[in-house]
């Protein structure tokens, strides 16, 4: 049995037929071909799939596509403003906050969300807030630096 879903993704209205068991991340990757959102685990631990749903950061492997019906979703593909990178993307580039790039979409989504909620978060708080996102490459050193710098850029913007 399929379910019809419709939502706004990166500003565009999209719709499709999904199975009841289809996860939001599967809908994004397989039906919308938005492959920037990644799947790094099957226990909702790694955070590679974090997207924004109605302004909240959400692990898109933990909700069904059907649950996202009618919502507004922003993925990594929708973070930049055309050719202009989001300040958080700029900060990750400037501070070498990524290596293999696989966890990066989730890190950016979470980093952006941390700064929006806690614009003045210090290093310890940023580290605690990042505990739902795993990176195996960077040791988090430069991710933390990038989020701090991103916070400054976002407040200056």
């Amino acid at each position: 049995m399929t379910i019809s879903v419709s939502m706004t993704v990166n500003g565009k209205t999209v719709s499709g037929d999904v199975e009841g068991r289809t996860l939001l991340v599967q809908f994004l990757r397989e039906q919308l071909h938005l492959t920037g959102t990644h799947v790094g685990c099957d226990t909702s631990q790694c955070g590679a799939c974090v997207v924004h749903v109605d302004g909240q950061s959400v692990k898109s492997c933990t909700i069904l596509a059907a649950q996202a019906n009618g919502t507004e979703v922003v993925t990594i593909e929708g973070l930049a403003d055309g050719a202009t990178l989001h300040p958080m993307q700029e900060a990750f580039r400037e501070h070498h906050g990524l290596q293999c790039g696989f966890c990066t979409p989730g890190m950016l989504a979470t980093g952006y969300d941390i700064v929006r909620r806690l614009p003045d978060a210090d290093e310890a708080r940023i580290r605690r807030e990042l505990s739902g996102n795993i990176c195996r490459c960077t040791g988090y050193h430069n991710i933390v630096k990038a989020i701090k710098a991103g916070a400054e850029k976002m407040s200056a913007a």
Partner: protein
């Protein structure tokens, strides 16, 4: 130094696609008409398959085909090959059991492949797999390497009696025993190097495709070395000649060794794509990665270090049991031998070293190289026993090391275990680290922490490692079945931009930037005019890939050599255009000039002349400007350094907090400091993970207890601190670029620094040993057992 040349922290060229979601990883690839594969795996560590019935599954909705080991055997396919051969002390070759991509009638570890279901959707493939009926007759299993050699242990292979794969030695045992017997003091240690799961964030994936009209196969795979996969899979497993088989490793989300090896799934989807005449995608779920990706480490070791009355090391004896798992993975046999025992002199002048390594089979996932591979095991052993020796001798940790370091002027240094270290300065690294970490102020910090009820400790690790693998002649004599050179191709386009083709593979290391810097620096062209291509056997002539910190030290030199050839040819063209003798042409800052004159031609003018050769020395020179070089190093690369870790332990909870981590490393010559620091950060994080958090645990029946991120503790941001890094670089004379590998040192140097810090913190309680990982319950228990009971107890 130019802003984009050697030594500049150029921001990465590859970042834009990763930051905007435009990376192209294997699972992002979808081919027209693609089907999906799901692999049925063994839930048992050891069992005989008495009946396998796929008939109901075949009839399930969406199923296209189901294949078993018998189907592969009917096509006379080969098994997954092993790239190294080790010989036992009696001269016999290692035991090398067959490793079919799908088993026939017996499973030997949880996760062993039994059948593949190919269906229109992944959901249908999974649903159908549920309908496959398998009758298992479970058999006793063995998982722990320390118990595998026991006479009553369950046997993994009939052809490997006692579960022994090989019994290998290096050094003179009698000589070492005699030195130990006559020594002033002997420090003895028993330790385990905990088994780890690499867990690159991108799970493995493979897409196989066959074109009936040409007979061509294409495999997209998560590999660190696509050419090696093409060679191994084509020649040994599927018997497809190279010109009919293209292997593409697109963007790869981390590897750390686990994506070196040729895995069964690659062969299965490639072979089956011809059977069903449609592309097939397989992507591991993380739970599947845990039970199929090659694991790392897993050694059990006893060692003795003999000293004279001044603490001078006289001899070192090591006896290690190394777990190979159920099958021999591609590199596995060389890890606990040539990548481990040859490093057992460490940074010290220990004149006599002997090691015996017994490799054993167990009913576990194959074990192979994981970041550092053998060298972390050696470093952990050496630095633990040296630290214990200092405590037993009543000597300061730094002082005992100073007394035994190989001095800078003693390089090149011939160790008693085969290697010749080309350069280094262990003492210089340590002294710099001591200053950076304020070692002299440590006792005051320990007191201050004690006043807050915390145990504070500082731990040392001074290490050297051998990487940049590998000199073919050397590794050939050591048992490698192939050489380990690298290939670089430099294609200069007519208007002077350059595409570099490299046989190495970047999966986080930033080659697209570092290699472009090499080219920008040498050819004097803007870095934007350089593109680096890797990861496709149809584009790159050949390559051995990326592992063993070899990309720059071997692959970078190949590119450099190809540029030498480009410049040599370009000088001939310039001499013709400038009407001068070739010997008078000077190439500098991207311009060819006649020495002592103002006559010159820009790089782009020469390249244009090469492709539009109207005015060209056509009788002497072919048109075009493209050169290829293969570089095979004469020696390994020897980075080294000093890592100091400071921890605080809360006695109420047993939680160990890393307070400071200082690393001073010797990388020879650094091309991009930002990227190199990033490599150290990641390596140190994995090392701290091994020391404090990570453990792959099997139960007595061979079931994996730590089968997900819920159970296997990956380091997270709040487990770590910001690291203090510096370098103390001694250029490498045996490397044409003067560079040393940097990718693995963090994981090699850091674990003993952390554990030595934990032991140092607890030493006032009389605690002398804590095993990795030093988890809160383990530390809390050690504290409770060591200190006198409280009055109320």
């Amino acid at each position: 130094m130019s802003a984009t040349g050697i030594g500049a922290s150029v921001r990465r060229k590859e970042d834009l696609r990763f930051l905007t979601g435009r990376g192209n990883y294997t699972d992002d690839i979808n081919r027209p008409g693609q089907t999906h594969a799901y692999i049925l795996r063994s839930p048992h560590a050891h069992a005989k398959i008495e009946r396998l019935d796929i008939s109901s599954a075949q009839a399930a909705p969406g199923v296209i085909a189901i294949f078993t080991g018998k189907d592969m055997a009917a096509d006379a396919l080969g098994g997954l090959p092993c790239g190294w051969q080790i010989h036992s002390r009696d001269g016999s070759p290692m035991k090398e059991p067959a490793h079919p991509p799908l088993v026939i009638d017996r499973v030997r570890h949880v996760g062993d492949q039994i059948a593949v279901v190919i269906a229109e959707t992944l959901g249908q493939a999974k649903d159908a797999a549920e309908l496959i009926e398998v009758d298992y007759a479970p058999l006793p299993a063995i998982a722990h390497p320390g118990k595998a050699l026991a006479s009553a242990a369950p046997q993994v292979w009939d052809e490997a009696p006692g579960n022994l794969c090989y019994d290998w030695v290096i050094g003179d045992e009698a000589e070492v025993d005699a030195a130990i017997k006559g020594a002033h003091h002997v420090t003895r240690i028993e330790l385990t190097n905990n088994r780890l799961i690499p867990n690159a964030m991108e799970p493995r994936a493979a897409v196989g495709e066959y074109d009936r009209s040409t007979g061509d196969y294409t495999l997209y795979t998560t590999s660190q070395n696509p050419h090696v996969i093409r060679l191994l899979m084509g020649a040994f497993v599927l018997h497809i000649p190279e010109h009919r088989l293209r292997v593409v490793a697109p963007d790869v989300g981390g590897g750390f060794g686990s994506k070196i090896y040729h895995y069964a799934e690659e062969a299965i989807v490639t072979w089956a794509s011809a059977k069903v005449n449609r592309p097939i995608k397989w992507t591991a779920e993380r739970s599947e990665s845990f039970i199929t990706d090659a694991h790392g480490r897993d050694h059990v070791t006893t060692a003795h270090l003999a000293m004279d009355k001044d603490g001078k090391f006289l001899a070192f004896k090591v006896e290690t049991i190394a777990n190979m798992g159920a099958y021999l993975s591609t590199f596995a046999p060389c890890v606990p031998t040539y990548l481990y025992a040859t490093l057992l002199a460490g940074v010290y002048t220990t004149p006599k070293v002997f090691a015996n390594v017994k490799a054993v089979f167990t009913h576990t996932v194959p074990v192979d190289a994981y970041r550092g591979a053998g060298r972390p095991e050696a470093t952990y052993l050496i630095e633990r026993i040296v630290s214990q020796a200092a405590r037993e001798m009543g000597l300061d940790q730094a002082e005992l090391r100073r007394r035994n370091f190989i001095k800078r002027e003693q390089f090149p240094y011939q160790t008693p275990v085969a290697l010749v270290y080309d350069s280094g300065d262990p003492g210089g690294c340590m002294e710099k680290a001591l200053k950076l970490a304020d070692y002299s102020g440590f006792e005051a910090r320990r007191k201050e922490a004690a006043a807050r009820g915390k145990y504070r400790g500082i731990g040392f690790s001074t290490y050297v490692e051998a990487c940049g693998i590998a000199p073919s002649a050397v590794v050939g004599s050591l048992g490698a079945r192939a050489g380990l050179y690298e290939c670089g191709q430099v294609r200069v386009h007519p208007t002077g931009s350059v595409t570099v083709f490299t046989g190495t593979h970047s999966h986080g290391q930033g080659h697209e930037t570092t290699f472009a810097q090499l080219v920008s620096d040498k050819l004097g062209i803007p870095i934007e005019n350089v593109d680096v291509v890797h990861g496709d056997t149809a584009k790159v002539p050949f390559g051995m890939g990326t592992y063993g910190s070899r990309s720059l030290a071997v692959g970078g030199v190949a590119i450099d050599r190809a540029m030498d050839k480009v410049i040599a040819k370009a000088k001939k063209i310039a001499a013709h255009l400038l009407e001068a003798a070739e010997a008078d042409i000077v190439f500098e800052n991207g311009e060819f000039s006649v020495a002592g004159t103002d006559r010159k031609k820009a790089f782009g003018e020469i390249s244009l002349a090469a492709y539009v050769p109207h005015n060209y020395p056509i009788t002497e020179l072919e048109p075009g400007l493209e050169e290829t070089a293969f570089f095979d190093p004469l020696n390994f690369s020897y980075p080294g350094g000093a890592h100091l870790c400071e921890v605080e332990i809360d006695p109420d909870t047993g939680v160990t907090q890393v307070i400071n981590f200082t690393a001073v490393d010797d990388f020879g010559r650094v091309i991009n400091p930002m990227i190199v620091e990033g490599q150290v950060h990641g390596g140190v994080a994995q090392g701290i993970g091994q020391a404090l958090l990570e453990a792959c645990v099997y139960d007595e029946e061979g079931q994996l207890i730590t089968g997900s991120f819920m159970d296997y503790t990956m380091p997270r941001a709040d487990n770590l601190v910001s690291f203090t890094l510096d370098t103390h670089n001694v250029p490498a004379p045996d490397n044409p670029l003067g560079v040393k590998g940097c990718g693995e040192v963090g994981a090699i140097g850091s674990p003993p620094a952390v554990i030595n810090a934990v032991i140092d913190a607890l030493s006032p309680l009389g605690i002398t040993d804590i095993s990795m990982p030093a988890t809160p319950p383990k530390v809390w228990q050690a504290i409770r057992s060591a200190r006198p009971p409280l009055a109320a107890e």
